[in-house]
């Protein structure tokens, strides 16, 4: 706790969603080769060798996440994932933890809006034991009633705990307010009300319907020989019975029109935390590389416009950035920062000025060149390790993207022109239609934020939930 960094890491992570950045003008980066196999039960296996350290990483994606939760029971996908390692037909939660920790292994699962995911990593010599555990938790979870009750209660307190830190929850408030009645409004982790409504049966049903081999991609990357690993995994996973499944379909949300603002009152706050934006793009948007390049300059790196104006030149904040959360359907775009109560107005004004300047003035040739170099120079470390690569190839497959996503990445960046940038700005960066979420001290900043929107909603941070019904119904549609 006694370490303090120059740049807040969470912001970097958020910026990373938009796309990591970099430089280097020669050559194309290519994904290492890997083998793709479909088992008879429908499970997709992806196998890639990496021999630098004696570790083996697994990344599985199950094609159902928070949007598959029944209404009013948000959090089922997430709790189901959390319970996988909390007991199987032949092992208690304690046995799983003891066996896993004894070999220094890692095994975890979680759920986002579009999908659920399982990650595991073992030292090579412990592969057999590691696979015993991984296959058991994926294929035979028991959802023991006592463990289920325990985890649901922990998750509920976890929401309360998170509400002590605005940055841990502002994303949920923003999604709820931005997406209104669209499924992406619903918190994948659940809230104080929905978690209390979940029963063990809901979880078992979710598992039966969605954890199906035909709905699952399993990538393995690390220190092994492909032929041998293929045989091992085929033997192990063939016991998983085939079953029909319906992958989630999510329609695109319609962008918000006009302006509206949600103020979440946190009465002890000495800073205002804000997200401003609108509906953004999907993972497969055809202009995604161009959007990444523009966003890198606008709010995706330390010298971006937002960071330069809000932090470097004016000292109004410790961090300012912007990002596109790219999902199966269109996710959110947001500008985000935080500033002392007294400078809330100046900081938000300045952020909005950057958006205006982006539309009016646009970018320069020199900036474009710099962003291209930055994205390319920073990209290799993001696919450096076996766990990163396992996650990458599983994710590409899940979104239906081919290896060319990586193999032509540099040439797509190189091909980007200022004219392309102009089109990207017009089409994907909002200007007049904006949704604002501010978490702060209402008694000090409640008045100044009123100027940003004709419609202002308020919530107390202590009130249960994230205000999923507060949004003005941005509606759904294609």
């Amino acid at each position: 706790m006694n370490q303090t960094s120059r740049i807040f890491r969470i912001l970097l992570l958020l910026a990373g969603l938009a796309l990591p950045a970099a430089a280097q003008t020669t050559g194309e980066l290519k994904l290492p080769p890997y083998k793709s196999v479909k088992l008879k039960n429908g499970l997709t296996l992806l196998l890639m060798e990496q021999h630098e350290v004696p570790l083996i990483s697994f990344s599985a994606i199950v094609g159902a996440g928070g949007v598959a939760d029944p209404a009013g029971k948000e959090g089922i996908a997430s709790v189901t994932a959390g319970l996988l390692r909390k007991g199987t037909k032949t092992r208690t939660a304690d046995q799983i933890s003891a066996e896993l920790d004894f070999i220094g292994g890692q095994l975890g699962a979680g759920a986002g809006a579009d999908s659920s995911s399982i990650f595991a990593e073992f030292v090579k010599k412990d592969l057999a034991k590691g696979l015993d555990l991984l296959t058991d938790v994926m294929m035979n979870p028991s959802f023991a009633p006592d463990e289920t009750t325990k985890l649901l209660k922990q998750r509920l307190d976890g929401i309360k705990s998170a509400k002590d830190q605005p940055q841990a929850v502002i994303g949920q408030y923003y999604s709820a307010y931005l997406f209104g009645k669209h499924p992406y409004a619903r918190p994948a982790g659940g809230d104080e009300i929905s978690l209390a409504a979940i029963m063990r049966d809901d979880i078992a049903k979710f598992y039966e319907a969605n954890y199906v081999p035909g709905n699952t991609i399993l990538a393995v990357v690390g220190d092994f020989q492909t032929a041998e690993m293929e045989k091992i995994l085929t033997d192990r996973f063939s016991a998983w019975p085939a079953k029909a499944s319906a992958p989630s379909h999510v329609p695109d949300a319609a962008p918000a029109t006009g302006k509206r603002l949600l103020l979440v009152d946190k009465p002890d706050s000495t800073q205002s935390f804000f997200w401003i934006g609108n509906v953004g793009i999907s993972r497969t948007n055809p202009d995604r590389v161009g959007i990444q390049v523009v966003n890198t300059l606008f709010g995706g790196r330390f010298t971006s416009w937002l960071s330069t104006e809000l932090r470097i030149k004016n000292g109004l904040t410790y961090g300012a950035s912007s990002f596109f959360d790219r999902r199966l359907a269109r996710g959110g775009f947001a500008i985000t920062s935080f500033t002392p109560n007294a400078t809330t107005e100046r900081c938000i004004d300045l952020a909005l000025e950057q958006l205006k300047r982006l539309h009016e003035k646009g970018l320069t040739e020199e900036e474009l060149k710099s962003a291209k170099a930055y994205i390319k120079g920073q990209f290799p470390p993001s696919i450096e390790t076996s766990d990163q690569l396992a996650n990458l190839i599983a994710t590409l497959r899940f979104y239906g993207l081919g290896d060319e996503e990586i193999n032509t990445f540099y040439s797509k960046i190189d091909a980007m022109t200022l004219a392309d940038a102009k089109l990207v700005i017009q089409q994907y960066f909002p200007l007049d239609n904006l949704v604002f979420v501010v978490i702060g001290k209402a008694s000090e900043v409640g008045t100044v934020v009123k100027k940003y929107a004709p419609k202002v909603d308020t919530l107390s941070i202590s009130a249960p939930g994230f205000g999923a019904t507060a949004g003005a119904g941005s509606g759904t549609g294609n």
Binding site: M1, T4, L31, A98, L100, V123
Partner: protein, 450 residues
């Protein structure tokens, strides 16, 4: 990630076979070293798996080198190191680095200030030029200092005022230490951030940033020879001077439990308990690391099992001790569940400590902890960034990077009795500080908090 390197070769028209050949084991991680005439020690770990480089510079200066009135100066200084020098003026350091594909960060602790650069190998010479420029000719522009002062105050608001863990932890250290500089926060007290002066900054630069006070670690797509040549060209001409004065203050032995309470708006309470333990470079290092692993790592760990899982008193429990030059704290950081009296969690923690002191640990636990440490070692070595960090940390805190590669042998020597002895020796009431955050309702009237 050897194959990525092969891929790059293909793009450059190299042999296809390189891609398919089984990659050799790179598990020895050879480090080569060179010390420049001005005292900077350079450690190089060649790793050609990706066309990138991670360059970490460790300066042996941190908040322990500060004094009352100018607390937080080391950290503020870390920020100023990015705000312009002679050749690369205000904003130019970052602009040039990013335009050439690089990025950076830095961090400050009680003990060290560490600068991190991540970049494609094509930017190697630029990075040396930039690093040399700022240690040789840093600028002190009053206007920029004022702006950065606000950035740091914002950082403090974020991680202390608006973070209940931060505000409580600051009180824990301020209570556990009465004499030694570990009593003040790395970020500094807000009033000191407001008040430090230009001459304080200039003095601090002179004190901490002699080349002889630095260790530089480079891991990635480089050759040892090219690094030595660049270092001789850019860094060696910078003159050295005296290192920071020795920190002579020692914390007197604690004579009885200390308690501190913070009452503040919040959803849930927090409990932090700490015991004084020796510094990193002590014989206790390896047994304490094993003890930390047994207490906290994994869902089979003693404290997760008891507090989170069995008794369901806590939402999470974490802790341990950080690398340090002087005797430090071994911390227990606990988030009690809603409706649970922090006193009840505290008692359960002491029950577990007593059980450890009287019953010791099992063979199974000891072997588990050693296995976890081995796996952790490989995880640190997965990336060039991880390698630069861990090689530098061992070199700076344990005096010799070789100890990283000998760690497995050292852990093998730790016995059950050693671990039990640590718990008996340090986890006792007289040596203990307890900090509790009790949530309180918001004030009815708006309160000015500045």
């Amino acid at each position: 990630m050897r194959l990525i390197r092969s891929c790059r070769r293909i793009a450059l028209g190299c042999v296809f076979a390189a891609l398919l050949a089984p990659a050799g084991r790179a598990q020895s991680f050879e480090v080569k070293t060179h010390t420049l005439k001005n005292g900077i020690k350079i450690l190089v770990q060649e790793d050609h798996s990706i066309p990138n480089v991670a360059l970490y510079t460790f300066y042996r200066i941190g908040s322990r080198n500060e004094r009352p009135g100018t607390t937080g100066l080391s950290h503020f200084f870390e920020h100023m190191m990015f705000n312009g020098a002679k050749k690369y003026g205000f904003g130019e350091f970052d602009r040039a680095m990013e335009a050439n594909g690089g990025s950076n960060n830095a961090y400050t602790t009680q003990n060290v200030t560490v600068y991190q650069d991540w970049f494609p190998r094509s930017a190697l010479e630029l990075i040396f030029d930039e690093e040399a420029d700022r240690i040789r000719d840093l600028s002190f522009d009053p206007k920029i200092i004022e702006s950065e002062r606000n950035v740091v105050r914002n950082e403090r608001k974020l991680s202390v005022d608006n973070n209940n863990f931060g505000v409580l932890n600051e009180q824990l250290w301020a209570t556990a230490y009465t004499a030694h500089p570990y009593q003040w926060p790395v970020l500094g007290w807000d009033v000191d951030i407001v008040n430090w002066k230009m001459e304080d900054l200039q003095n601090h630069f002179r004190m901490g940033y002699s080349p002889s006070n630095a260790t530089m670690v480079i891991s990635g797509d480089v050759s040892f020879e090219e690094i030595v040549a660049l270092a001789e060209k850019y860094l060696e001409p910078i003159p050295s001077h005296d290192p920071p004065p020795k920190v002579t203050t020692q914390e007197p032995e604690q004579m009885g439990e200390r308690r501190v309470v913070v009452r503040k708006f919040g959803q849930l309470p927090i409990l932090q308990v700490a015991y004084h333990v020796p510094q990193t470079n002590s014989p206790e290092f390896y047994p304490l690391q094993i003890l930390e692993t047994i207490l906290f790592t994994g869902q089979s760990s003693r404290l997760y099992q008891r507090l989170v899982d069995k008794d369901q008193l806590a939402l999470f429990v974490g802790g341990g001790w950080d690398w340090s030059f002087d005797p430090t704290l071994f911390e227990f950081n606990i988030r009690p569940r809603a409706g649970v009296d922090p006193a009840k969690v505290e008692q359960a923690l002491y029950d577990e400590i007593t059980r450890l002191q009287s019953g010791g640990i099992t063979d199974q636990e000891l072997e588990k902890a050693k296995n976890i440490r081995t796996a952790e070692y490989y995880r640190q070595m997965k990336t060039i960034s991880g390698k630069s960090n861990v090689i530098g940390t061992y070199e700076v805190f344990l005096g010799d990077y070789h100890k990283l590669f000998n760690a497995a042998a050292e852990y093998a020597k730790v016995s059950k009795e050693d671990v039990q002895r640590m718990a008996r020796q340090y986890f006792n009431e007289k040596n203990r500080t307890v900090a509790t955050l009790i949530p309180e309702a918001p004030a009815q009237k708006p309160q000015e908090k500045k």
